[in-house]
Symmetry: C2
Subunit: 335 residues, 2 copies
């Protein structure tokens, strides 16, 4: 039973001014006499007035808020991501609303975000269907894609990492330094572009070193510890032979290590384990994980900047490609 909230009119009445004046002191959009400001401020305070955001949006043209669309599954790297975005957005004076998909319903815009309700959108891989994205694009709605390229080559800005290059360098390391020859690869979720590029890097490295690609050495990791673990356990059971596993990402690597440990396989002596992302726990694993650092927070901040730029009418970069860097720790056999 919420009591009716104070509205701008209530404030105006109490302060003995018009609602226009109240609006002006609240927003500082026009000069107001000092004592009037005082009275209005007091009135606001005693009434505990808070502007009604919906009304504001309706009246003004901009909503002052940006939306982020995230998929249901979210891994550890979600945080640097959100943090990177949040900081940029906040600095620019916008608010940030995050919408997490719930299982089942996928790829649809829900009421509170998008179009009328936010000034722009940061869209994570897989959150929206190509059609939906195209529709928004056609409507001239500002957005930036995270870790996926736009459908139909639409000129929508997007951020990506140098997945291929990083993966290639990582694999090259275990081949040339640790003489691994049977290197398994765990794919990410179906259709994930990051995973596709990592796989290409993996294949290129093999090719460069004259190692034939073996489909048997590729399995599903899903960028998920449990899935990766299952796959590796399955492999172990059927006696698949490998001397290294590139888990696709760090989460999966964690699952891989657990499976190996459980089976009594020594990491890295018997099997090298490789990740991708360099999430916070990578350095805490046993042994510390050799991986590829993806500047997640920086990329997220870049994405936010690109969105903000669009909002200001500037031409944002078509593509933001962030460099990756191999981080050698112990899970590959170094040290």
């Amino acid at each position: 039973m919420p009591k009716r909230r104070a509205t701008i009119s209530d404030v105006a009445r109490l302060a003995g001014v018009s609602i226009a004046t109240v609006s002006r002191v609240v927003n500082g959009t026009a000069p107001v006499a000092e004592d009037t400001v005082q009275r209005v401020r007091e009135a606001i305070a005693t009434l505990g007035y808070t502007p009604h955001a919906a009304a504001r949006k309706l009246a003004g043209r901009e909503t002052g808020t940006l939306g982020v669309l995230l998929p249901e599954v979210a891994a550890e790297f979600f945080f640097p991501l959100v943090r990177g975005i949040a900081e940029e957005v906040r600095n620019a004076g916008y608010d940030l609303l995050i919408h997490v998909a719930s299982s089942g319903q996928e790829s649809s815009l829900s009421t509170p975000l998008g179009e009328h309700n936010t000034d722009g959108l940061l869209i994570f891989t897989g959150r929206l269907s190509d059609e939906e994205i195209t529709r928004l694009y056609d409507a001239g709605f500002p957005m930036v894609l995270l870790y996926r390229s736009p459908p139909d080559d639409l000129p929508i800005p997007y951020v990506m990492f140098e997945n291929k290059k990083g993966a290639r360098a990582l694999i090259a390391h275990v081949i040339s330094v640790h003489h691994c020859r049977r290197i398994a690869f765990l794919r990410g979720p179906e259709g994930n572009e990051d995973s596709e590029w990592r796989e290409r890097g993996y294949r290129e490295a093999l090719e460069n070193h004259g190692i034939p690609f073996d489909e048997d050495l590729v399995g599903m990791g899903g960028f998920d510890a449990d899935i990766a673990r299952e796959t590796v356990e399955h492999w172990l059971q059927q006696g698949l032979d490998f001397d290294a596993i590139f888990a696709g990402d760090d989460e999966a690597a964690m699952g891989v290590m657990a499976a190996l440990r459980h089976a009594g396989k020594k990491v890295p002596d018997e099997v090298a384990v490789l990740g991708f992302d360099d999430i916070n726990s990578a350095k805490l694993m046993a042994p510390p994980l050799t991986t590829v650092r993806a500047p997640i927070q920086a990329a997220a901040a870049g994405a936010a900047q690109a969105l903000l730029a669009q909002l200001k009418g500037e031409e944002p970069p078509r593509q933001l490609r962030y460099p990756t860097q191999v981080i050698i720790r112990q899970s590959c056999g170094c040290d």
Copy 2:
């Protein structure tokens, strides 16, 4: 340069009906003739009409969306939390908006959430100041507190785990089964209620077994791997003697293990490590972590239900206390 979006009037004009009728077919709030429905549907489709959420909120009384206020730092257990909430909320036909605090600004309600803009709020520990919470309460705003009790004993529903009981049982286990005597404890963030209760459980267990509490064995873990790691490294450096570490939560436990491993201390042979929460990676650690399972997702779902109940005018439970369960794995010395 977004083209002007289609409004309800555009649809009405194209379909040759009044805006009221359009509204009715959109919301299904009143019977409309079948062929009229058809015409309106078509008009909506050809115009690509999407209702303006702000206008809707302004006009109707409810916003149809619930807000979640999260602190800046968010750990792995954030996900089950969000998932639990999201599912309940979605099932009830509400939308969910998550607002993540950005560093610096704390405990303040930002424009897009709260009061006029959501019908209710789920508030995480530390996100809002007592004053702010009290103000919202006074305004009759529906909310549920996560992992903290209400200020001034206000009758605001809140969810908590049986922290004390779980911690007590956990510590009792290492004392009686593994004969640990010098058990260190890592506190969570300043003022965190979960941490306080866990500490009480820890102390009670000590007391029950006649072990004197030693302030030197208590340090800061911050529910954070890096902080915990530093503390333990510091302890190790100054030669502090302990045979077990209760890390406060699982994240911290991960840091503890890393510090111990780095120093060449065997877990669990030389030092037992204990966590709390049973996050996904707990079972993947080396060795798998003995911890206390907190039904995070269930608790979150319960919180959401309590909020929804309030919205329906029902009397929600004052407090939701979720049971915890000791999960014995290997880091304590079992197996």
